[in-house]
Amino acid sequence: MKRRPPRLALALLSCAVPEGAREEIEGDLIEEFERHRRTRLWFWIQAVSISWSYRPRWSLPRANVSTLFNDAWSGARSLRRRPAFALAAGALLALGIGVNAAMFQWIDALWNRSLPYADADRLVRVFHSREGSRESLSPPNYFDLTGEREVFERVAGYWSPSLTLTGDAEPEKLLAATVSHAFFEVLGIAPLIGRSFTPDDDRPGASPVAVLGHGLFERRFAGDRAVVGREILLDGTAVTIIGVTPEGFSYPAPGTELWVPLRLPRDRPDQGGSPYRSFRILNVVGRLREETSLAQARARLSSLSDRLSREYPDSNQAFELEVADLKEVERGPLRAPLFLLGGSLFLLLLLVCANVSGLWIARLLARERELAVRVALGASRARLLRELLAEGLLVSLLGTAGGSLLGTWIAAGAREAAPAGLPVPDVLEKGSLYPIVFLAILLPIFLALASAPAVSGSGRNLSNSLRPGGRVEGGSARAGARRVLVVFEMALASTLLIGAMLLLKSFRALEGVDRGFRGENVYFTSVELPFTRYRESHRRARFFEDLQERLRQAPGVERASISLGLPLDPRAEFFVTRSPYSVEGRPEPEAGRKPEAALHVVGPELFETLGVSVRRGRGFDARDHRDAAPVVIVNESFARAAWPGGDPLGKEIHHDLVLLPDDASRRRVVGVVSDFRYYALEREPEPQMYVPHGQSPWPSMHLLIRASADRDSLHAQVREIVRDLDADVPLAPLASIADVGQGVVAAPRLRARLLTGFAAAAAFLASIGLYGVISFSVASRTREIGLRVALGARRDEVVSLVVGQALRLALAGGGLGLLGAALSTRWISSLLYGVGPFDPWSYASTAGTLLLVAALASYLPARRALAVDPTTALRSE
């Protein structure tokens, strides 16, 4: 085979070596390669070394401190001569950096706040998963899990009830966590004062103890360290405080202030036919052994879950044990919103860079002649480049300083103005450096790229650019670079516009969802009966009956009722127990495959209070007491699922779970109510069962009141009635159901608003960039336009000349942007509701907006082009 010199090496040479010397050098190399049988490696080495010798010398400015100082000085003087550029670019950068620094601080805090635990990589959550949905574990399954010593170092179970702290001060409701003794050890949290739980504390029947959260410790006990060993009254029970957690710890839920031991029995007789193993109430967190990987843990637990489903088919068959990284679980819901926020900020920052570069190029174009003269007078290109870069860096510094200041203000302002319901990060002092670092890398690159042609071109075409009216070759290259920048800006803006349109549309769709109930003028609060004094169910039933009865007679109250959970409450899921069920008239499903429905406890008139209509049969009333026949009301979804096309009234339902030990589990349907959104606006109504409170007298209920009275006077009335019934029952302030409904859309609204703001800013920046390019182009084509007009071009032809150019740039950018959006919207699809990521309306309206922007940006330049007087234009030649 004939030997060939490496082609790529030849290509490298032809790039690096100027035309005149290339043929000879290549020939020499090939000749030697042939004659002396050199290797291909030899050829490569020669090619690379020659190319290196021909590298452009001016690109590596070598400078010492004094020349750097000189450069900076002349850069500063040059900026002072033309302050408009320095101000515009500085302000743009300051704004970009300020917004970014503030927002990235939030992102940083939100993202990294979640897991302040030692060796968090080894922390996992364990779920029961069924068809992709994750549920908690039953106590026996949890105990089985604690036996997996090869997988876990420690495992802990917990759930979050709310407990009432009474005593010398006003009763206070606290978010607590009932946890197994290993809980703090699993998370690697040592108490600040006192001790954490021991296995003895966790045994059923052990004397009750509690660990206080730092916030509660400071607030209620004034940070007195002697609090350890004292007794407090929790839900009417005396509990000994044994420790205080360090500041900032609130696992499992933000706001948790109290931890008490679970004290779960290992075993318990089945109640009302519902096995202990189907009480899926425990959340499980574990610490993997150091040598166990997540994959190994998964494999081990998969064999455990096979065993469980074999041994306990009726409670475990359809479920699998799923192990998930705690980080992933905690951060999962944050990922899409933070990606959206961070991503759009990144795009905005890119846009700011592009815009500043555009301004920079415009400035270079204006200084064409000055640069040419300086080269003619003997200034070296390296020197010029250094000076230009120094100028750019000064502007960047100016912007960065302003931006850091602005960022601090914005962060503080955003913290103040944060809408309720949005998690506010505790740590905000740590300023985020990302945008600044990012800019520090990016901006010099942009500026260097933009400056290089100015300097390399200014020597060659000296005579041309010195001639009056003459333009340099480099000038058109730079105008080209500017057009590329504008296309880039348009692309970024249109990506943001599409995102904003999609989010706006989802928000509107979400807001427009028919909730199925009327929340206006409905107020709620929660009432919790201390279990110790309301041990007997008839006392609890009696208390709530009296409460509702007295409320209904109060002035200004139209309706009053009680309910275990609240519709659209973010904690709705927590208040509701889901129970497997079977129904009369349908074949019994095989064990473990039973359908599930939520089991609610409600008072009489709840549906009337919420404006939910009773479609068939009746609502609950005084008839439905403890001794009467057990009854249930279902919603339409339930009726459709259980008896398609049939009549539900009078049919019997058997639900496997009961809330209180001696509750009935077989009930006859007495009514069907219309569906309403319960868990979340975006979740379709699901099958629900409603049980009368009289027949399942749960101690802690929400009180719902439809009233014409205003909130304050209503609260005073409710407080008086409750106090009259039992002075030890705490009462939280009244809130309105409508507010809860507003809270549900708060996050989507905030997202839509933020992104709309970003998109508007982006469109504005891009339109300025476009305006700059178009008006420059009109200015430099004055003679051409004059000539065209002199040769008989019509006004509309002149206009289309200008506008056409703007449209082409806008469309090119828009096309790229649509592509970018199509590629990135799948990341935010989980935030969309009622609109697909490829919604044609959003894409079309973005295109429309871009065209509008292009038209606006070319309006002034087009007017200027129309005003061109052919005689003046030609005379200037």
């Binding site: 010199p5 070596v17 100027p18 005149g20 010397a21 043929e23 000879e24 050098i25 290549e26 020939g27 020499d28 090939i30 000749e31 030697e32 042939e34 004659r35 020669q46 070394s49 020659i50 190319s51 290196w52 010798s53 021909y54």
Partner: protein, 111 residues
């Protein structure tokens, strides 16, 4: 600062002398070889070409294109020749060097 055209740098002098020695056969590869052989130093190929370009640009060297040959992959040689100004520059530099050496023989030989 650019050096005065007729003040030769060391490597420029070396290249010009090599071109002189090769008479009618001075092209890139032969110049490189000649320098390597006589100075017994490895020479960077790229710096030879760059220097040839520079000397030609300053008017000390002239060049003409030869015939393309198959062994060179169909690429032509570029033959270099000193222009009168180049020759003068070499003479003058050598003269300067000679005068600078005068009286230094004992010192230089001892080194």
């Amino acid at each position: 600062m650019t050096a005065h055209a007729d003040m030769l740098g060391e490597f420029e002098l070396v290249v010009l002398l090599a071109v002189l020695r090769l008479r009618d056969d001075a092209y890139g590869a032969s110049i490189l070889e000649e320098i390597a052989r006589k100075t017994r130093r490895p020479v960077a190929r790229g710096s030879v070409y760059i220097t040839l370009d520079r000397l030609q640009a300053t008017g000390l060297l002239g060049s003409e294109r030869g015939e393309p040959t198959p062994i060179r992959g169909g690429r032509a040689k570029r033959y270099f020749k000193l222009k009168p100004r180049g020759l003068r520059a070499v003479k003058r530099t050598l003269g300067d060097l000679g005068r600078l050496q005068e009286g230094l023989q004992p010192l230089l030989e001892g080194a």
